[in-house]
């Protein structure tokens, strides 16, 4: 076989480039259509005083919508609610998820059954999980109060009690995702490292903290990053369980309520942009601060 000439090579290279771009075009186009234009639109409209019910009354007001949002105690109350939900769910999920991953990694009995069972909450619709937990704690339909002797304590009449139930349903639904990521991380911890530590007289607890966890750093950080962003956007459970009543409103819910329910487009878009910026900030903190290696997630390496 003779070596191809230079002209042939670059022809081939050009064809390859074209094919690559052509193949990527549909996906990129859809993703741009649904995100870039609406986001630009939201940025633009957030500078107006604009309600859908009074379209002729649209006025350019610079950043006054942002000032309104940031100056409102309700906004900060929602920030606090979202922050508490995120912090508690992620912390609990990492611990439970790690325990689940260890069990799946080590269990000899019913391994397949456990993995299948763990996937069920992952597949179940969030709204349905929210209904299940709501009805379990509800005074009318629930069994929780009679089982655990809580009398007629009305869970959804107290801010922190209702947030607890919201958090429980979120944890139930999304721990499988965490535990599967951590299981994959566990599988990559070199087994001989643990054995060497055992020979050196390390206890199981020391092996866990000194060998296993440091070697899983990448997996843990990826799981925490994805779950943090996910929990920060929590919406479905809140909608189903409390509709944001009793000071349980989250940032996503506030945005939804302003834009869709109240049709206060300008103000709602301002809140939406603030939510978007907070997500960017969280991602930046993780990626820069903790150096989460996302090239592995993206699949480019």
């Amino acid at each position: 076989m003779s070596a191809p000439s230079r002209a042939e090579l670059s022809d081939r290279g050009r064809a390859e480039r074209r094919l690559g771009l052509v193949l990527s075009a549909p996906a990129v186009a859809v993703m741009l259509l649904v995100t870039a234009y609406p986001l630009a639109n939201a940025l633009y409209l957030s500078l107006f005083r604009y309600r859908l019910t009074a379209p002729d009354d649209r006025r350019f007001v610079w950043f006054s919508n942002y000032a309104t949002a940031l100056g409102d105690p309700l906004f900060w109350q929602d920030v606090l609610t979202t922050l508490v939900i995120t912090a508690v769910t992620v912390a609990v999920e990492v611990v439970i998820g790690f325990a689940f991953a260890l069990v799946m990694h080590r269990a000899v009995f019913a391994r397949r059954t456990v993995r299948t069972a763990i996937l069920l909450p992952y597949g179940i619709v969030t709204v349905i999980s929210a209904f299940a937990w709501k009805y379990a704690f509800d005074l009318q339909s629930g069994f929780v109060n009679s089982w655990f002797g809580a009398g007629d304590f009305a869970w959804f009449s107290h801010r922190w009690a209702s947030l607890l139930v919201i958090v429980l349903s979120e944890i139930w639904k999304t721990t499988p995702f965490v535990s599967l990521l951590l299981l994959a991380g566990l599988a990559q911890v070199p087994g001989d490292l643990g054995e060497a530590a055992t020979v050196d007289g390390a206890t199981a607890w020391q092996r866990l903290w000194r060998v296993t966890i440091p070697n899983m750093r990448a997996a843990i950080l990826v799981a925490v990053l994805f779950r943090t962003l996910d929990a920060w956007r929590i919406f479905d459970n809140v909608f189903v369980m409390t509709s944001g009543q009793g000071k349980t409103e989250t940032l996503s819910f506030l945005t939804y309520r302003q834009t869709i329910t109240r049709t206060a487009i300008g103000l709602g878009d301002a809140v939406g942009v603030l939510l978007f910026l907070s997500v960017v900030l969280i991602a930046a903190v993780f990626i820069r601060g903790f150096r989460v290696d996302l090239s592995q997630v993206r699949g480019d390496r």
Partner: protein, 276 residues
């Protein structure tokens, strides 16, 4: 190495996991078999009198059956479109040298992190302007867009494992790049594509935000949104048990898929995310 005691410990752990995942699901099933009047009067876990009444109510309610048709149709179409698009991109990323490759991957990552709610306001406006509000395409387009990142990662991870020499062999034998892709690689890639399809379907099936924001009638409203707005078969009846029956109906496909394809779903969820 493993002592009998620690074996027992892991077994107990397994059992706890099974209970933890099963109880809320069983609870919904139990509620769906209770008589509507039992809610508020008895507080047991099991139904006092078992009944199919709620399932009959649900299937007689036009709102639910149309929502079920919407959910199935929209999710299947969005899955098909999304997986085709993702397959093309993932192939290009795994196999071809072209500018903008890293940019595409970073963009997909950014989409996965995007707060969806920030977009529903503008999308609501845009869809009303161009007539997509309360239609199937009006939901299919955002579903495809937001399911794409996961599908792209899953597929590029799978595509990295494929023996690509076979494609070159086909090209040496005179096949074009496109023929080599279609005839040689597609059959090899099918398992990965199937996994991506399952994950995409779960994503669409689960959606709620778009479902309540971009629809207003049973024209396109999917099940999760319909459930949240369901107020009961009649004004005097508690909707609780009927909602649970509907919930069980839409959970059955999920359970079947999980039981059949457990291994694939696990592989798909962890592919790409944690590669050493």
């Amino acid at each position: 190495m493993e002592s009998a005691r620690s074996k027992w410990l892991w077994a107990v752990g397994s059992l706890l996991i099974l209970v933890w995942t099963a109880v809320p699901i069983l609870w919904i099933v139990m509620l769906s078999f209770k008589q509507p009047g039992e809610v508020g009067n008895r507080h047991g876990f099991l139904p006092h009198t078992w009944t199919w009444e709620n399932y009959r109510t649900v299937f007689r309610t036009g709102l639910f059956t149309s929502a079920l048709v919407n959910s199935i149709g929209i999710s299947l179409i969005a899955t098909a479109v999304g997986v085709v698009f993702a397959t093309l991109v993932a192939y290009a990323i795994a196999r071809l040298e072209f500018p903008g490759k890293r940019a595409i991957l970073s963009f997909a990552l950014a989409i996965a992190m995007f707060p969806v709610v920030s977009l529903v306001g503008p999308l609501f406006d845009l869809w009303r302007d161009i007539g997509l509000y309360d239609t199937w395409p009006g939901l299919i387009i955002p579903y495809v867009s937001f399911a794409l990142p996961l599908a792209i990662w899953t597929l590029s991870a799978f595509f990295r494992e494929i023996p690509w020499e076979m494609e070159q062999a086909a090209q040496v034998d005179g096949a074009t790049s496109w023929q080599a892709f279609r005839k040689v690689i597609v059959p090899l890639a099918a398992p990965g594509v199937f996994t991506a399809a399952i994950l995409t379907f779960f994503f669409c099936w689960n959606d709620f935000v778009f479902g309540i924001s971009l629809t207003s009638t049973d024209n396109a409203r999917p099940v999760p949104a319909a459930l949240a707005f369901f107020t009961g078969a009649s004004f005097f009846q508690q909707p609780t048990t009927a909602i649970c029956a509907a919930a069980v109906v839409v959970t059955v496909p999920v359970v079947v898929i999980v039981l059949l394809f457990q291994r694939r779903i696990v592989a798909g969820l962890t592919a790409g995310a944690v590669k050493g």
